[in-house]
């Protein structure tokens, strides 16, 4: 039975799918403009008004590039790796809610939740899918049959597995506070205000958890200052050295979509999701977009401000600083939940 509800859901899925793709294009443009601004340059300005069509030009150019494949490459894994990366990036967004259930101004009979898949273990699902992204990178590194690719792939795998621990610990603190693994519940717990003005977001109770989660999230997405897999000066371009044309574009897209996903999860876990003052609940997704944009801007800001860590520093930081801090924070939170009922 093809009723309005199912149709609306199908439209929602398509909208999210294309929005994620477009977000990658927008991020490419934003990245170049922000970088230019920080270095007192103009950035892209030729294609379209203020260079707004630059991403489209980039995509068209990548389409028409020749597809190169190293002779010694394992062709099956070589083609599979970017697909894994992109698929994991898209799927990871599925359990992320981005707005309150809405009837679209009375268009539908029942409210439709703005979320692709409402799973009751949503937090864990995101975690699981994110951990699948490693395979895209590590397989790309190995299948290219090139030393730079292999080193980049191995580094990134080690980095992601190490930071996943701190990531999980920070996640667990929020799960403890909310008493639920569902993102809908976690967001619902953050509605309302303290003393009438301070919103009840978890960032105010869990600043340490927020920092740990955000840092680990940046490391998970392999962005500066943790962008070892593609450290140009030492590894040429890391795991995607041998990739060109659309396959390269897929890795690129996966990276930007992962940034969007991590930021969206941070918004849901720590910044109250779509809750915010002034706007009615049904327009909450505007708040969501605002918070998301701020976080994404911080991503770019960090990249063009901070130099890259050294590899041993990165590992030492992950294991000796981030993980212990996250663990202590988890224990304190657990004690707080038991004894003070936070």
């Amino acid at each position: 039975m093809l009723d309005a509800q199912i149709l609306a859901y199908a439209v929602l899925v398509l909208v999210v799918f294309f929005a994620l793709q477009i977000s990658a294009a927008v991020m490419v443009y934003a990245e170049r403009k922000v970088a230019a601004g920080m270095q007192q340059r103009l950035g892209p300005y030729l294609v379209g008004p203020r260079g707004l069509l630059q991403p489209i030009a980039d995509i068209v150019k990548l389409f028409f590039k020749e597809e190169l494949r190293p002779k010694a490459a394992d062709w099956f894994l070589f083609s599979l790796a970017p697909i894994i990366s992109v698929a994991a990036a898209f799927v990871a967004f599925a359990p992320v809610p981005f707005g309150a259930a809405t009837t679209f101004f009375g268009l539908l009979d029942e409210p439709l939740p703005l979320q692709i898949a409402d799973v009751n273990v949503a937090v864990l699902v995101i975690f699981a899918v994110a951990s699948m992204g490693v395979y895209g990178i590590i397989l790309a590194g190995w299948a290219s049959n090139s030393k730079y690719s292999l080193l980049g792939g191995l580094r990134s795998a080690a980095q992601m597995v190490s930071y996943e621990l701190a990531f999980g610990m920070a996640l667990a603190t929020i799960v403890l506070m909310a008493g639920s693994l569902s993102l809908q519940d976690i967001v619902a717990n953050q509605s309302g205000t303290w003393f009438g003005f301070l919103p009840q977001w978890y960032i105010f109770v869990q600043p340490v958890g927020f920092l740990v989660f955000w840092i680990a999230g940046i490391a998970e997405t392999n962005r500066a200052p943790f962008d070892f897999p593609e450290a140009e000066q030492e590894l040429v371009a890391g795991y995607h050295t041998e990739y060109s044309s659309m396959r390269f574009a897929m890795f690129f897209m996966a990276e930007y979509i992962n940034m969007v996903t991590v930021s969206a999860v941070v918004v849901n876990l720590f910044l109250g999701g779509w809750h915010g003052p002034w706007l009615p609940e049904s327009l909450g997704w505007i708040w969501f977009l605002v918070k998301l944009s701020v976080l994404l801007f911080i991503y770019l800001w960090l990249r063009w401000t901070l130099p890259r860590f050294r590899y041993d520093q990165l590992m030492a930081f992950g294991w000796k600083v981030l993980l212990p801090v996250a663990t202590v924070n988890l224990l304190l939170t657990a004690a707080g939940v038991i004894y003070f009922g936070l």
Binding site: V121, F127, S131, Y135, G179
Partner: protein, 175 residues
């Protein structure tokens, strides 16, 4: 066939074919990937069994951590082929004697399986038709940290021992 039976067949086939590919083809890198595919099939089966927590943990721990470790070692050792040509005919288990013995054992296993399945009552009932599922992670956690507390603590010691062992084993000896 109902939709859940269709899903069972799909996920079961995924798990079985993945496992077969692990054993049947010579390249360890492909073996690791086939095993990951097999784990996804198993994870789907766990979802069918209404155990979402186990399904997700299967992906996080097995596919996301343990298999990365395997892939890491295979790539570092760059041992992408099985050593030598013993793989085909010269294998000791491919001589006539062991072959016959193995065939007998395999048949015995099949017979035993069928015997056990036909002798047991209550297997024809659909899984989970009689009792409600324990789906919530909260209940799993509660039992894990009360009834299984001792086992849980012992596991942590096991992990610690394994960690120390792995570090000692893999460390390069100073000459």
């Amino acid at each position: 066939m109902g939709s859940d039976q269709l899903l069972f067949v799909g996920f079961g086939a995924l798990a079985l074919l993945g496992a077969l590919a692990v054993v049947a083809q010579p390249n360890p890198v492909y073996s690791v990937i086939a095993l990951i595919v097999s784990f996804f099939g198993l994870s789907g089966l766990y979802v069918l069994l209404e155990s979402p927590f186990v399904a997700v943990v299967q992906i996080i721990i097995y596919a996301g951590a343990i298999m990365v470790l395997f892939l890491f070692v295979v790539m570092l050792l760059n041992a992408t082929r099985e050593d030598g040509s013993e793989w085909d005919r010269a294998h000791p288990y491919y001589r006539p004697g062991p072959m016959r013995l193995g065939a007998v054992l395999a048949v015995l296993f099949g017979v035993q399986m069928i015997w056990a399945l036909t002798r047991t009552v209550g297997l024809g009932v659909g899984v989970g038709e009689t009792r409600p599922a324990v789906e919530s992670v909260r209940d799993v956690g509660r039992v894990l940290f009360t009834d299984y507390m001792f086992a849980f603590e012992v596991t942590s010691i096991l992990i610690l021992a394994a960690m120390v062992g792995a570090v000692v084993l893999a460390r390069r000896r100073e000459e």
